[in-house]
């Protein structure tokens, strides 16, 4: 029988994976965007699980908002990457350390 805690663990794992994805990946920025999406999705899972178990719809409303915002975020993220690429014909992360110290 799959209980609530299983879902929560799953989403927590998802969250950890996404974060790991952010700092383990050293090449491509696009992967960063993906892992960010993944992180938000894990949050969504949480909300859905909670709203399901506590018969309360607002959680799922929240999920829609999150999805929308995530879309906007990735749009802006891509835009920034584009402007970065314009100036430096590559989107490798390990080249981005002009600002440090």
């Amino acid at each position: 029988m799959i209980t609530m805690s299983h879902y929560l663990t799953f989403s927590a794992l998802l969250f950890c994976i996404s974060i790991a994805g952010i700092f383990i990946n050293r090449k491509n920025i696009l992967l960063l965007l993906m892992s960010i999406e993944l992180m938000l999705l894990s949050v969504n899972t949480n909300f859905i699980v909670f709203s399901h178990y506590s018969n309360d719809i607002t959680g799922q409303v929240f999920v829609f908002f999150i999805l929308a915002v995530a879309a906007a975020e990735s749009a802006i993220g891509l835009a920034i990457i584009v402007s970065l690429f314009r100036k430096r014909n590559s989107i490798e992360i390990n080249l981005i350390n002009k600002l440090k110290g």
Binding site: L8, F15, S18, I19, I22, I29, L32, I36, M39, L40, S42, V43, N46, F47, V49, F50, S51, S54, D56, T58, G59, V61, F62, F65, I66, V69, A72, E73, I76, G77, A79, I80, I81, S83, L84, R86, K87, R88, I96, K98, L99, K100, G101
Partner: protein, 477 residues
């Protein structure tokens, strides 16, 4: 019933609505040649109008709007007014700079106003969804604003860094939200914070609060969540830095206040220790790093980290709902840093971008007046008497000593001594060294007038602080 509720809500929400519409208008106006040169005036006008209107309909009683998703109290009004003031100063000062950098466009101002709007929504949100939307509204517009200076490689690098890290932060905050929702089964913050009064606190509740406050710590740039701040300060155009340094901090302080008001969690040992240790750690890190900086903006950024630590100490000391200390600190810091960055904005002209601290050498011989203004500002950041910053640090120390944390107090004051050194460095470059850079811009009487507003108020508030203290203490305890 619902109708009139909505109508009253709308009526109470007019300033934000004005801002919203005007930012659209500015965006459009920016598109057409004939109107694009008026965007600045439009922006200023709209902000002033919104300011006046919100001054008109400020309330003493707190009222819940849009069926409890927005709250409007004297606290929110107070902080919003400060934001208005700061924002006006910023955009008035930044005009010439933007002209020189050729980014004085419609989308700039509309995005900026959106960011302001986002902060206002954070300030007055009473619902997790609205809060989340506010956070994202401000962050999204800031991402694009940072990257707006397409000519500079640094700005887009800063943008990408800020983007990634702050989305992580929002993710963490959201994670916390989700748990809160799971425990309490509601999204309304006031209910969430009252939850503990009826139920005893569970570890999950604590966890979610910890997660949220780590997110908040990120937004305040409290060490070790501060890395984005120096890079953003350095990379982004100065007016944006100016905005990021001040208004979001105020907004997130109000968020903190909203979450911790009437909430026993603040007396929780783990939670309060977390705040305390984060605060002290961030004071250490900020001062140490600031000591070694060569660039003025990075130096200010790290000093900002240190001050964020002080703010956390202030929040830490907010037992039995006395948020006045932290509030006063936030206000004084925001005002001071705005003055500092505005001065830097003002003096860096088209020909010459003031980046390094050495560029201040002999500045007093160039313009004694501006250098005195900057000196007052920096002394205030350092917390020397004769400035408002002294009271800010004084209150935090006082709170620490009152709670018997003498050792923490001593560590903090020793760190402020280190802090003093790097502020003095700027001062001595300005006054004691010679060989001023003739490219530095010191002209513009109106801007000078605006610039001198804040230092003047810094001194005045030092001399006659009591009314302000009274007001802050009254509304925040």
């Amino acid at each position: 019933m619902i109708i009139e509720n909505t109508i009253t809500s709308l009526l109470n929400f007019i300033p934000e609505i004005i801002l919203f519409i005007m930012s659209m208008v500015i965006l459009l106006a920016g598109l057409f040649k004939f109107s694009s040169k008026y965007v600045f005036h439009l922006a200023v006008l709209s902000v002033i109008v919104a300011f006046i209107v919100s001054l008109q309909n400020q309330t003493i009683t707190s009222s819940l709007l849009f069926n409890n998703s927005i709250i409007k109290t004297n606290v929110t009004d107070f902080f919003k007014h400060i934001c208005y003031f700061i924002f006006l100063v910023q955009i008035l000062i930044s005009r010439n700079y933007l002209k020189d950098k050729k980014i004085i466009t419609g989308e700039f101002y509309s995005l900026l106003i959106f960011a302001l709007l986002g902060c206002f929504i954070i300030i007055s949100s009473n619902n997790l969804i609205v809060l989340f939307l506010g956070i994202e509204l401000s962050s999204l517009s800031l991402y694009s604003l940072i990257a707006l200076n397409r000519s500079s490689i640094l700005s887009s690098e800063a943008a990408i860094k800020y983007f990634v890290l702050s989305t992580i932060a929002s993710g963490i905050i959201l994670f916390g939200f989700s748990y809160l929702y799971g425990i309490t089964g509601t999204l309304s913050i006031s209910d969430i914070s009252k939850y503990l009064i009826s139920y005893d606190e569970s570890n999950l509740y604590l966890f979610s609060y910890v997660l949220i406050f780590i997110g908040v710590a990120f937004k305040f740039a409290v060490a070790p969540f501060h890395m984005w701040l120096p890079d953003v300060y350095e990379g982004s155009p100065l007016p944006i830095t100016n905005f990021i340094a001040s208004i979001p901090k105020i907004a997130f302080f109000v968020l903190t206040y909203r979450f911790l008001e009437d909430n026993p969690i603040i007396n929780n040992d783990n939670f309060s220790k977390l705040l305390l240790l984060l605060g002290i750690f961030s004071i250490l890190v900020g001062n140490l790093f600031a000591l070694a900086q060569k660039k003025i903006m990075r130096m200010l950024a790290y000093s900002g980290v240190a001050n964020a630590g002080f703010i956390f100490l202030g929040i830490f000391s907010a037992i039995n709902n006395n948020f006045s200390i932290a509030a006063f600190y936030v206000i004084s810091y925001a005002v001071t840093i705005v003055s500092a960055i505005s001065i830097v904005t003002f003096i860096s002209s088209k020909k010459f971008d003031l980046i390094y601290i050495n560029d201040f050498k002999g500045f007093s011989s160039r313009s004694g007046y501006v250098s005195i203004l900057l000196m007052i500002t920096l002394l205030s950041t350092a917390g020397i008497p004769l400035t408002i910053g002294f009271y800010a640090k004084y209150l935090v120390l006082d709170a620490l000593v009152d709670r018997g944390l003498i050792l923490a107090a001593v560590v903090v004051v020793l760190m402020t001594v280190i802090g003093l050194y790097y502020y003095l460095r700027v001062i001595w470059f300005m006054f004691f060294e010679s060989g001023s850079n003739s490219l530095i811009n010191v002209r513009g009487n109106f801007s000078l007038f605006i610039l001198s507003l804040i230092p003047a108020s810094i001194i005045l508030v030092f001399l006659f602080p009591d009314s302000i203290f009274k007001y802050v203490f009254e509304i925040l305890t």
